[in-house]
């Protein structure tokens, strides 16, 4: 087993462990704990991206997700001043059927992944660094229109958020 394979198992384990702690933490029901574990999940996933030679996306993942998006989450948690969530009566029927449905979906997905013949290169050499992605984005022409549309989308989102967070909507 080579070093990248070992690193894959390490990062995959960390990603799934922290992901599980986001969803169900046995020690704390505080949303802040979930947010912190989500940051750790995202960082471990950036490690997986590096193993997949997607260096630019690994950096963007840490900057945008672990940086900007999670800071937004923490700001909102502080703003709402949530108290420790008190336990309410759990709907046993909902829990059982929900877990059953998710387990079924997981079974289907893994069976599809391991049962079919995946078309994959034996010795992949593609490297997603900044230069390669920039060339793909700006010289091929097929991504220029989506790129401009995304910039408009960000503007629309910004205006929408300002409108939503006004005190009195008229």
């Amino acid at each position: 087993m080579t070093i990248p394979d070992l690193l894959f198992y390490l990062f995959a384990f960390l990603t799934l462990l922290f992901g599980a702690l986001v969803v169900a933490n046995p020690f704390s029901r505080n949303p802040v704990t979930s947010a912190m574990f989500l940051v750790l999940t995202i960082c471990a996933m950036a490690g997986l991206f590096v193993l997949l030679n997607a260096f630019f996306l690994a950096a963007v993942q840490i900057l945008v997700y672990a940086g900007a998006v999670m800071v937004l989450f923490l700001f909102v948690i502080m703003l709402l001043d949530l108290k420790e969530e008190q336990r309410r009566k759990i709907n046993l029927f909902g829990v059982v059927t929900g877990t059953g449905a998710v387990l079924g979906l997981g079974f289907l997905l893994t069976r599809t992944i391991w049962g079919g013949d995946l078309n994959q290169a034996a010795n992949p050499r593609v490297i997603g660094d900044t230069k390669a992605l920039g060339l793909e984005l700006f010289t091929k022409g097929q991504f220029l229109l989506p790129f401009e549309i995304v910039s408009v989308l960000l503007l629309v989102a910004m205006v929408g958020v300002i409108l939503l967070s006004k005190k009195e909507l008229k």
Partner: protein
């Protein structure tokens, strides 16, 4: 056994299932939203894995756009949650059931 596309896809599928479990089981709106982010990230991981093992950068471009749109979506979603909290003083989904029949 060398690590191939299947291994990455399995991790992605498991992460997606974890996120779905969080959306179904948790009752705090913010935690549900974080689980949604987890599912989005699982899809990103699958796309990057496909991109690598098919020697095609289009998958990574897709992830680039998904991250941008996700940032906008998080901003709008959190603004909605804050507006809801102002109206109802609660971030619990069972208190936000006015659309329920």
């Amino acid at each position: 056994m060398t690590v191939g596309l299947e291994h990455y896809l399995t991790v992605s599928a498991m992460l997606f299932c974890l996120g779905l479990l969080g959306v179904i089981l948790r009752r705090n709106v913010l935690v549900i939203y974080m689980s949604l982010e987890l599912m989005l990230n699982a899809a990103n991981l699958a796309l990057v894995a496909f991109s690598r093992f098919n020697e095609n950068l289009t998958g990574q471009m897709m992830v680039f756009f998904i991250i941008t749109v996700a940032a906008a979506e998080v901003a709008v979603g959190l603004a909605l949650i804050v507006a809801l909290y102002r109206k109802r003083q609660s971030a619990h989904v069972e208190d936000l059931a006015s659309l329920k029949l």
